[in-house]
Amino acid sequence: MSITIQNINKNFGKFQALNDVSLDIPEGKLTALLGPSGSGKTTLLRIIAGLESSDAGKILFSGEDVSDLHVRDRNIGFVFQHYALFRHLTVAQNIAFGLESLPRKERPSKQEIAQRVEKLLEMIQLPQLADRYPSQLSGGQKQRVALARALATQPRILLLDEPFGALDAKVRKDLRRWLRALHDEYHFTSIFVTHDQEEALELSDQVVVMSQGKVEQVNSPAQLYARPDSRFVFDFLGHVNVLSGVVKSQKLVQGDAWVSLPGTKGDQEAQLYLRPHEVQLSRDPSTHARLPLRIQSISLIGSEVRLELTPEGWESQELWETGMSHAEFAQQNPTRGELWYAVPNVGHLFEADSHQPRSVDWDFQNAANASSM
């Protein structure tokens, strides 16, 4: 079941939560709505569910207009951030709730309901907890039960509102993997809301980045990370190192720092965005860039050594960040307080007049220069 969102608007008083949002959610895929708080992602999810009404616009399920359909008739499963389990009912009774709510004609017999519940309990790997009450479960178990409960009536669409937001890091990771596996097995169309970019990129097939009630970009996780098409998406997805300055004779200059940018027009403001992995550290400046940085801190935990750097003789709003392999680290032995130079391989240039970035590839240019010499 695909979902089409057409020109949705929603205001809460004077606050515009959604501003003319249009979107296609493909069938059988796991889609993430990603954005900072206040970006309208939860409101959009609730409008899709029918828990909230839109001021204007349409929601279509497989081409069928459901805008005026009540939640209870939309046949969706909804999972809440804080589980919303019925605390006076046991786990089994919670899961059976949806089936028992069906109109008499469609309602399965008691034995059938019991069997379905048993199957769902096996699916969430908690068959031994059938007679427990929600208060006796851990957060991760509660969210699994909530998921089984939402899936019990075999909804056409599964909607999850920050499903892992209330869980601690370890449980969150486990549950994320488990949800992905479950989805790969059953292929329901699902949308989940998150403000955690790592979660969105790891779990979903398609990411919708939202900001201030608008859709910023829709793409697959890999494409989104590699080619953000706005400053917002760049800033929001992972760390980014920024050099903002003025272009003069094909160089972006700010204070003591400069980067050569062949083919740029002069005398305009511009920002160069560099992902941590697109920057190498060297003890000397290279021919195409001079970015002096002082090492502020070194973090050894993880598969890579992470270094935080402060600009020396120029300015940046945030610290720069880069990584190097442990082998490289052992060889080069950078220490805190030393002055190093950042050497970019690939970068993304936002020029004053354009909203979208232009890719810059110095490796390619250097190679071309070397072969022509």
């Binding site: 939640v71 919303a84 019925f86 605390r87 939402a150 009536t153």
Partner: protein
């Protein structure tokens, strides 16, 4: 030996609690509280028992089983039950409206709910009697329908309901306020009808509070005096409540009989409150997983 010495030191420290507590004054505050409870609650109760103990067992039984007194038990019990059940329904409705809806005058109504507590019960009784008397504002209309309220047991129910309604509203209101809207949304998203959402999701969370409110309203009604005597008519064997019987015995300077009857009211109230507390703690333990 040293191990046992250590544990005893640890247990002493935990018991006195001096090193762990952030705010001091546990001993002092508990002492004052206990002293006050003894002074205003336990001492008069002891007096009641002492007064009663002057009677022989036969005298005691004779006093509390006097036919007129027995009749007053019956009247008190059924009117209190009717009043508290009425309050259960109406109080729930009132609490629901106050929590769920926004309307002009909401804060005023919220404040008015406490009026029966603030108003002297005698004033309430006189006002109700005036309103429901045959020529009163309500009474004249009810009279045309053939319903007599003032100076009948129904008047007792009205007075009891009036004086004890805040108990139900004020116990149910906070629970209603704390109900998570997500629970209801979850139920509706699974296709439950409005009625089913109320019965299966909202009501089970509410009803410990509702039962407590109704029970408090009931026990309060058992002892109500001031509001009732002005509207009840106080006809022996028909509309005399137990608290009035106590008052009558007192006027006859029969303190022993008065305290004997009072001890019955006290006993019933205590048993009821205790039973409710026990039941509720069990129910809540299940919900909160303690």
């Amino acid at each position: 030996m040293s191990a046992s010495a250590q544990t005893s030191v640890a247990s002493v420290r935990r018991f006195s609690g001096r090193s762990k507590r952030v705010l001091p004054g546990f001993g002092l505050s508990l002492g004052i509280s206990l002293f006050f409870v003894s002074l205003v609650l336990l001492l008069p109760l002891t007096g009641l028992v002492v007064e009663t103990s002057g009677m022989t067992w036969d005298q005691f039984v004779f006093t509390i089983t006097d036919p007129r007194v027995i009749e007053s038990y019956k009247v008190t019990a059924w009117t209190a039950l009717a009043a508290s059940l009425f309050n259960g329904v109406f109080g729930l409705l009132l609490a629901w409206v106050l929590v769920r809806y926004e309307f002009p005058g909401k804060r005023l109504i919220d404040a008015v709910v406490d009026l029966p507590f603030a108003l002297p019960t005698a004033v309430a009784g006189i006002t109700l009697a005036t309103l429901f008397a045959q020529n009163g504002w309500y009474g004249q209309w009810l009279d045309k329908l053939g319903i007599e309220v003032a100076f009948t047991p129904i008047g007792i129910v009205v007075a009891m309901a009036f004086t004890s309604i805040p108990f139900v509203v004020r116990t149910v209101q906070p629970v209603l306020e704390e109900l998570s809207p997500a629970d209801e949304e979850a139920a509706v998203s699974m296709g439950a009808s409005d009625g089913r959402v109320f019965r299966k999701v909202i009501f089970p969370s509410l009803w410990p509070a509702l039962v407590t409110g109704v029970a408090l309203s009931f026990t309060r009604s058992l002892g109500e005096f001031g509001a009732i005597i002005f509207i009840a008519g106080n006809t022996p064997y028909v509309s005399e409540v137990t608290s009035l019987m106590i008052f009558i015995r007192l006027q006859e300077y029969d303190y022993a009989a008065a305290s004997a009857i009072a001890s019955m009211v006290l006993l019933v109230s205590l048993i009821l409150l205790f039973a409710i507390n026990l039941w509720q703690s069990r129910y809540l333990r299940r919900l909160e997983g303690r």
